[in-house]
Subunit: 396 residues, 2 copies
Amino acid sequence: MKVLIAGIDGYLGWSLARWLTERDDVEVHGVDGLMRREWVEEVGSASAVPIATLPDRAAALERRSGGPIPFWIGDLRDPGFASEVVRAVEPDAVVHLAECPSAPYSMMDPDHCRFVQTNNLLTTMNLMFALVAEGASAHMVKLGTMGEYGTPGVPIPEGSGWLTHEGETAYLPFPRQAGSWYHWSKVHGSNNLSFACRLSGLRVTDVMQGVVFGVYPSDGDDARLDTRCDVDAVFGTVIHRWCAQAVLGAPLTVYGAGGQRRGFIALEDSMRCLQLLLHNPPDAGEYRVVNQLDDVHRLDALVERVAAAARLHGLAAQIEHVPNPRLEEEDHRYDVASDILPSLGYRSRHAMDADLGAILGKLMTTGDRLHALEGVLHPDVSWVGGRRGRPEVVEA
Amino acid sequence: MKVLIAGIDGYLGWSLARWLTERDDVEVHGVDGLMRREWVEEVGSASAVPIATLPDRAAALERRSGGPIPFWIGDLRDPGFASEVVRAVEPDAVVHLAECPSAPYSMMDPDHCRFVQTNNLLTTMNLMFALVAEGASAHMVKLGTMGEYGTPGVPIPEGSGWLTHEGETAYLPFPRQAGSWYHWSKVHGSNNLSFACRLSGLRVTDVMQGVVFGVYPSDGDDARLDTRCDVDAVFGTVIHRWCAQAVLGAPLTVYGAGGQRRGFIALEDSMRCLQLLLHNPPDAGEYRVVNQLDDVHRLDALVERVAAAARLHGLAAQIEHVPNPRLEEEDHRYDVASDILPSLGYRSRHAMDADLGAILGKLMTTGDRLHALEGVLHPDVSWVGGRRGRPEVVEA
């Protein structure tokens, strides 16, 4: 199987390139505009784990896997470039990880909203049309987010479900209620892809993924093989940020009351899911939505768990509640269906406490590099006010 | 009240400029990129009713209304331009009619899909951010379409409703199932605006409008005051196209079986609705969805009505079914709530047969101009294949 990873230079993209070449006989091709590195730099941050350039990491992976990892560098907003890559690679599947993945980045100001929405709209559209032009037989795996559903107060199905209105029932797309311009960009993409399947016979798996955490499983690796690990308030996911705060001796900050519930999945399990989905494509014309998450955690409980793991590493982890920079419910129900992946044979193999230990251990080796990031761990992007200063501490 | 009409040069925009200056004491300002004229020309068509240039029609309207009709010409995809206009006008309300309004145009090929979606995304976003920057007090009236809902098989509420899933009920946005890239662009815009209201206190009325038909009510007007009337298969609405076919002695073509049900509203009633909405804005932060339509008609019954009206004008109107270029259900239920406008005092004043007579009468005066459009009345844009030739005739 030939897989084109769009966004191969990112956190998930590079992990998937490793996973598929190290654990499968998949032929991996990559494309990336290297923009993630620019965005993170723009907000004054950097990956806490040092990462090699794309040519260097690809060379290291080639040496390990024994096969070539061809990659293209370019901007997928350009339809000609997207078509050229797809035509040249002739992939059996495209894993689309080439969107800008940050809610706070999209909320910084109108320019960033425009950028994130047009970037994500066009990269998805261009890959989609490129696949259709080549006969629409390839499988497109698109990364969405559980955040597309919001917190609706009723059980969340996988994409669509039986909905009753005024006593009548139909099988319908489940309503989306995203919470940032970024999350809405993912909804726009999901909507467009569902229509493309109906229209062109394209086969799409749209992955509503929970929050991913973890460092790539290490086995005495060449450091050039490392994937990025962002810990800042704009590009870092919450567990990474808490781990970084613990290593730095700073309080672990919880946004608002902490009753928010979210689905989480370990990096390794995310890779396992994507691999399974690639080997089990939907039928031609099918738009398949998969909820890809393991456990749902309340943030105020999860932070205790991270703090406990940190204390095992000799770190004095304090917990602090800060004003929530986001507009979100801070205590709500959250029942999510996730049946498709288990039906394909997926079982989580991660043990969260071990994963937390691995993240903490990795970050403890980063020294001055992590200390340089201390100033960017605090949220300075408010949903209401855009970029602002560090918030005050409030009572928990 | 100071109203900025974005898209003042279009079919609805120009009608609204007339309506508000001739029948209200609203101060009208306009902005337009004049793109509608280019798009229609690009598909080989033109307005069946000759229209004056924007400066000429504005001058004619100024003479009639006695007040100035200031207008700006520019591209609202440019955020700087959008802000400049809003800042200069300081409107109490913006009526956003500046999107590309054609489903077939968006389905021509990937380039047109990209254009329609980015144009509609950015014009909406730029006007929205411009209003927020000025304090978000102005009321934004955005034209959406009933087509955002698709044909879900259950009753359609106004925007949101009580939905039950797995025995639990919540008040949720009603699922959208659009049927073209254009219709999805309207969904993207609705989603973004609903979030902007929550985020910034913006007040928005999102108008899910039915298919509009009609010529502007004439009272011995200066012809420079006429609004456009498109009859072609790309920019014309179905009733206009049928009237044009009748006047040309060509068969009135129905797409597919003809059991499609759609909501319709006469141009004059659409203006009356918009005027009412302008005088009854929602609260700050409220995202109000209004279903703006009068009667729901089955196309196969409606075409008989148009044919009957044509015969009264001495025209030999034949009816022909052609292969449906669209992907749509051709026989389905369609129950639509429309309670908000009546609650504000709206009552339809149109009599469809009189409106059909007015359209036919107007088109019968257009002579060679209409004959030149004969070749563009047949659908040459297929939802599956993009642009193609004239379809074959099939048995009814």
